[in-house]
Subunit: 172 residues, 2 copies
Amino acid sequence: MKGSGEAAKRLESFLRSRGLRLTRGRRLAVEAVEACGAHFGIEDVDAAARAKGLRVHRATIYRAVPLLVEAGILRKVSASGGDRGEYEKGLGREHHDHLLCLDCGRSIEVSSAAMEREQARLCAQHGFLAVDHQLRIRGYCAVCRSGGRPRATSGPPAPIATGAPAGRPRRR
Amino acid sequence: MKGSGEAAKRLESFLRSRGLRLTRGRRLAVEAVEACGAHFGIEDVDAAARAKGLRVHRATIYRAVPLLVEAGILRKVSASGGDRGEYEKGLGREHHDHLLCLDCGRSIEVSSAAMEREQARLCAQHGFLAVDHQLRIRGYCAVCRSGGRPRATSGPPAPIATGAPAGRPRRR
DNA sequence: GACTAATTGCGACTTTGTCGCACTTCCGGC
DNA sequence: GCCGGAAGTGCGACAAAGTCGCAATTAGTC
């Protein structure tokens, strides 16, 4: 329950550097985010806040999250389908890509120096200045391929996850 | 205006193989898609259909498009921000990745065998069976970097595009 | 041509996200 | 410590993107 330290500090200095205010809403947003799993959407942050008894309005979260991204506390990703806005914590974690299992919904994080190099080469070749990038490979994970696990189809979404809160797969 | 041939044929055999029907709605959806640019959303398909005087309901398009994806006629991508569902034609075009310019909004298609190889290696290493993948690098294109073009910020979205219909950038 | 299950059209509804605006709170100055 | 003004919040209304149930229609089959 303590560890918000770093993120909070980062937020504060970011806000200061931009002449923005460190407010209750923004602090609570960070707290709520801390309580989220590996990948989450804004609705999850909202839910986490509510679960912790923090009173912040949805609109405030929507307004705070982009700041957290700018501050480097969060990263915007589209780990799953890529439809709704999704985020992951970005502090103290190096860049990684995602292998997304279409069966159990799990998302495996991987990273490859060779890949990074190749991307850099591609960019250079096109005179493109990269800011960030995102690779998502969809397919079937080793566990599901060997059929050793309950499928997402018909049944609970397979509890084993990168660390997500509880239920990402729900949609309506 | 003629060329729907291939896609239509593909759709037909796909539907047949799945015991689904080749209906008016699905045919019109393909036609409308043909009229779209390189990257488009479902609303664009709808608009294209309307523009061609084809009467298809939005819901029908929403139902048809996933089939077109399954049939390999379309590919789902999140070329731009990655928020709303976006698609591109997938027929007869080999896989490519996207360099997305944050300034002019253009999306440059690139492909790299080395990258594909590295991805395959990564998957193998994790026992992951890839179905498809998507790499998106965001940053600034050569044109914008040299400052030679009107910026998206304040002003029309830079007409030079990968071939998109007309107005993707609009939101609300 | 008749039959039947798949599909469509339609509108209502949900979800996700944004906006304007009055009220509150932060924070630098005194 | 208190003040003042601007930044930020809460709120509800709204917009866009998607989905759903259902009656009417239609593609295929016999």
